[in-house]
Symmetry: C2
Subunit: 349 residues, 2 copies
């Protein structure tokens, strides 16, 4: 298992069908260029309450319209807060809810060049009223409520005929793309099925046709476990594209994240919290993204046996280069088994 | 055409089959996080000759073994240089030429999880002996010779049974992944066909089956022209994933980059030089990558009608976030037509 003694290996995973090159020796290469490693905001940056942050309690009028809020529970001895979580419209939406949705007959063919009006939904989930609180500083119930807010909003969007998929994601830290420091996540409801969703479903379908099994149900026995709860596994996947990438997978087969119930959401909330704490502790509060991978709305029932939702967490530890951009194949200097061992052993209690 | 008045639009291209969201309004969003825009090495960084750079003239012994060199032409009045271009082994290879290549019977199935030993070739092309010269500072003949060095090395690697694809790429600037400032490019010969190559070929195949046409032959009439030469077009593609992304496409249909001849390489060299000059001038020497997209070796002759090589240039102007990582769909704040107009009008003479 000693990192340095390992030689390279290439692996293909059974979910995205992507090749990854594992190469521990790569991490020893020199650099004569500055700012190679992405820098997270300097310590304290993003922690200090910002008088100008529109996501903070009391600045609600500076935000785009609210969609719903989760009221704060009464905590004895603390000043009551009018809300705990807010789901709001993104003030600078990539896709616009006020654009005309494509009529059924305008829907693009399966193949070839096409263009559709920029209809869609782009929402922000403000995870806490406080500027200095990070998602994993909340208690498990607090994280549960964030997850349930995602689920509720996805459910609402699923009822819109022209929305084909909702991508739920979180950016933390400037090098992970975040422009706002206040703890938040986003979701984008798109009038098309995004490319990675199509290729993931195609890959899982092929595996299912060949083996009769769902790739993600199968993972339980093979991949490197970091932690587990009654309903979920946290693993470093066999074909992790990024160092210390983790997947949280429901044990029970299910296509749609937004069908999660209260109990499972609490279980997931506590696991997500502890995985983010581990990352923060091991990698010194790295920039990271997480993404919920679910199924497109309204898929045929024949697709249900091989669609299995999960959550992917990716710390941003290096800049990708032309090889990855061109080939779609990533070079990962850390073997999943080694990353999992390190993550398993971090004590966050 | 006024940027601000445009609303969003989603487009799918006919080469990668990827959806992209164009959203000019997104570029107006605020940020309270520092280092959001990737920074290129500060001016002068990378320009000053470095006494410690192993890619510089005279430091050849500090490099991994040379594969071949291109001798320098005699320039009257200048001290002769023993070489103009060197193709060398990467000292920290992601894949190793000394690993055992997979035997034909060990080759992975088309579907599902698999692992192969880390066999492959990882080479570096040192484009100039001088630390302070960038690729586009060379004359067209100099750029031609770099392209011909790529082609010659790809040709050599194509003769190895176990090499399925060679990804040629260049990283310029720290935010584009470069760890070395001295002008260079790289190539990786892989024992598998990388994921983006497979999906590109699948997409072009589907288009061909539906229309009888090669997606890249068709592009000539539709996409936004930046510049052209007798043999090549430089365009901003209809479905550009990145702001100011450009593609250089041979007019004549052909599957393999490495079959380029001297004349076409000179033509391409002069066009590539002027496109890089335009980027450097318009975007203030941005970090960028370029990638050659060619065909896997030994494809069936039935694939030849829809495989068409091209070169993609991508300036790195923003950090991607969880939406792009999760969905594979990019948000591009600059419409291709607008980018092409700006790039067309820059005068680099
Ligand atoms: N007053 C207000 N009311 C409501 N909303 C407000 C607001 N002020 C700002 N916002 C929105 O809040 C969001 C904050 O999002 P993030 O910090 O996660 O990253 P952002 O979307 O900027 O871009 C990152 O994520 C996207 C998607 O992955 C990438 O395209 C991009 O390159 C990357 O930097 C922004 O989208 C912004 O438009
Ligand atoms: N003395 C020597 N002799 C021979 N070779 C030497 C050498 N000293 C250094 N090298 C090699 O020179 C190469 C320089 O390459 P680049 O600057 O283009 O980016 P790098 O490969 O480091 O990583 C970027 O590109 C890769 C591939 O896209 C990404 O995986 C990565 O994240 C990104 O930072 C390195 O690969 C290094 O191993």
């Amino acid at each position: 298992m000693a990192e340095a003694s390992r030689t390279s290996e290439a692996r293909r995973d059974a979910v995205f069908g992507r090749w990854v090159v594992f190469s521990p020796a790569r991490s020893r290469r020199p650099t004569d260029l500055k700012s190679h490693a992405p820098t997270n905001p300097s310590p304290g940056d993003g922690d200090a309450p910002r008088p100008s942050c529109p996501f903070c309690l009391g600045r609600e009028p500076e935000c785009a319209p609210e969609i719903f809020r989760v009221p704060a529970p009464d905590t004895p001895g603390e000043a009551p807060s009018p809300w705990r979580i807010r789901v709001i419209e993104n003030l600078f939406p990539a896709l616009r809810r006020d654009a005309e949705p494509p009529a059924p007959e305008e829907e693009p063919a399966d193949v070839g060049e096409c263009a559709v009006r920029g209809f869609g939904f782009h929402d922000v989930v403000i995870e806490t009223p406080r500027h200095d609180v990070r998602l994993w500083d909340l208690d498990a119930e607090g994280v549960r409520d964030v997850l349930l807010a995602y689920a509720r909003r996805v459910q609402q969007l699923s009822e819109h005929r022209a929305v084909k998929y909702v991508q739920v994601f979180k950016n933390h830290g400037a090098s992970a793309g975040a422009s706002m420091a206040h703890s938040h996540s986003q979701m984008l409801g798109t009038p098309f099925v995004p490319p990675s969703v199509t290729s993931r479903l195609n890959c899982m379908k092929e595996v299912f046709e060949r083996t009769g099994k769902c790739s993600l149900c199968e993972i339980q026995s093979k991949d490197s476990l970091v932690s587990e709860t009654p309903n979920f596994l946290a693993i470093v996947p066999f074909g992790a594209s990024y160092p210390f990438e983790m997947w949280i997978i429901p044990r029970q087969h299910g296509s749609y994240f937004h069908e999660i119930d209260q109990d499972k959401a609490l279980d997931l909330g506590s696991l997500l919290k502890s995985m983010l704490q581990k990352l923060c502790k091991q990698l010194n509060d790295p920039p990271f993204n997480y993404m919920v991978h679910s199924a497109p709305f309204g898929i045929a029932s024949s697709c249900l046996p091989y669609t299995h939702w999960f959550l992917q967490i990716v710390p941003q530890l290096s800049v990708i280069g032309g090889f990855e951009m061109g080939s779609g194949c990533y070079i990962n200097p850390v073997f999943p088994e080694d990353a999992a061992k390190i993550l398993r052993e971090i004590d966050c209690s």
